[in-house]
Symmetry: C2
Subunit: 327 residues, 2 copies
């Protein structure tokens, strides 16, 4: 519960009488209760949860004060003149219905707290990465002849026996690999197809996100370029360095190969309670790497077919790989 | 593309020069392109898609005008004085950054269009329901001795071989069944445990959502009460009837049994491109059932253990079951 106390302290320091937290990841981060339906964490002089009756037994486990009600939104304490909410999460409709005319402040500090993972969080992400990597090593053995959909189903099943899924598996063969977020379909995988597999386990709400690309034969130039770009970017993921340097390092390598225009997404993103969270590794990222951030590094090239290699990096004085990487 | 034309007509009739659609389900509904990352459908005198470069090949398939850009939000045509957006979907942060000072109108008509499913949509939901029900019939055979998590993984795998998943399976045994949205864990299922399985397949983006409860032996009173409540509610799902009548019918049955206080959620919800969409079947629902709506009917009782039975109903002059129901 120390995070909750810290949150209340920050609120005080902002002279905010009342903050209301809606985002499930944030409620979980601060209380240990992960809402399964609409819920709110009220941060005021007496922090408490407002939950649906459906979630009463889950809220009970936190040991903190809670009220189980029929309609969470109708019970919100909105009488303060200034209310703190998560502006990224609250909808314009909610604002017009419940907050109009009030001064509304952004509770972005919760997101900021979450950037720097503690030991336990890192342990869970590492475990999620291990499970994911185990499956990524096992799957490719017998893909030929199967449908993308079947390979995805099997990979997900292997994860689900041990953990939750962070997201639907991407299995993209041949020309489909040129679509970064391809949805696995009925295309049968041929022996010579390049195949991208993008997979993630979730352990106690903490996610992993890894990608491997299988190309037939050695010396695929796109593959080598991607791997080199990834190595260059990983080297930049150390505390105090500019985040954009990681993106730029990957781009520089691909520029040398003449592939820069085929790298059509960012170099990576933070991972934690969300699969995609702060920071984004792009060329105009403003911030610096901080100790305890966990980020993906995942350059890719998308031409007639696609290549992407994605690993998880823990930011410390030096970058620490949380996945062992593709050999 | 007829839906897109209809949308533009509605916009004209609202005297809206420009509407911008962000919600992936809505973009898909109007164009056939399902965004895998941030995207926008611009509805103005020249409707077009603004997509990430990652999605260029997907947008291409629609045959409509599109632009693949680095940053979708920076390319939005926001020069009209009145802009239509989905107020439920757009965040307060987005509003403050891009829309403040403008007149903003709600594009709720897209949600309204989606309420009444056409033949093809019903075909897909029916197919999703069939796959789900096949799996629900197969799973219970050998649950005893397994962990909840394992049963969930197997059920999901059986679905994934044939379709997508609508949501993570709920498998809740014994006392866990008293938590409506229980997350399957390591509890081993005993022969005499009541077990709730809540499962859904997704076929071409259309969802199913069904629940079966297995109780040992016959004549479980909670089970009989739930089944009777469900039957009573289903009867009310016909075009022209008040939506709240379906909820009230279920509640009336459970009141006779003395279980009303243990029914801690609504009686159902619309299903389509979203697992939960309009209408909600609650006691204060305002609207009427309309032809082509597809709703779940899922009363439940949650005491020391839980019972829930959920089927899918297509609203016509009479209610039409899209699932065959639990025997």
């Amino acid at each position: 519960m120390r995070r909750l106390e810290r949150a209340v302290e920050v609120l005080d320091s902002l002279d905010l009488e009342c903050g209301i937290v809606f985002k499930p990841e944030h409620i979980y981060y601060l209380t240990g209760y992960y809402p399964t339906t609409r819920a709110a964490l009220v941060l005021n002089e007496r922090p408490h949860l407002l939950v649906s009756k459906m979630d009463a037994r889950l809220a009970e486990k936190t040991g903190m004060e809670y009220r189980a009600v029929d309609k969470v939104y109708e019970e919100l304490p909105l009488d303060s003149k200034i209310i703190g909410v998560e502006k990224k999460y609250v909808s314009l409709e909610f604002y017009e219905k419940y907050l109009k005319g009030k001064k509304v402040q952004d509770l972005r500090f919760i997101e900021e707290m979450r950037r720097n993972k503690d030991r336990e969080e890192i342990r869970l992400i590492r475990k999620a990465a291990e499970i994911t990597e185990d499956v990524l090593r096992e799957v490719p053995g017998d893909m030929a002849g199967k449908k993308e959909r079947e390979v995805a189903a099997e990979a997900e099943y292997m994860i689900r026996k041990r953990a939750e899924l962070a997201f639907n598996a991407i299995v993209a063969a041949g020309e489909n690999s040129a679509v970064p977020h391809h949805t696995p379909g009925n295309r049968r995988i041929k022996k010579e197809d390049p195949v991208i597999i993008d997979l993630g386990a979730r352990v106690e709400h903490y996610n992993a996100d890894l990608t491997r690309t299988h190309v037939s034969g050695d010396g695929d130039e796109l593959y080598e370029a991607t791997r080199e770009a990834q190595r260059a970017a990983i080297k930049e993921c150390f505390a105090g360095n500019k985040i954009r340097n990681a993106d730029q390092a990957a781009r520089n390598v691909l520029m040398e190969y003449g592939y820069e225009d085929l790298f059509i997404h960012s170099t990576g993103h933070g991972v934690g309670l969300e699969v995609h969270e702060y920071p984004r590794l792009t060329k105009d990222s403003e911030g610096e790497f901080e100790e305890g951030m966990v980020v993906t590094v995942e350059p890719g090239i998308y031409g007639e077919y696609g290549i992407r290699i994605e690993d998880l990096v823990l930011v410390k004085k030096r970058p620490v790989l949380l996945s062992r990487g593709q050999s």
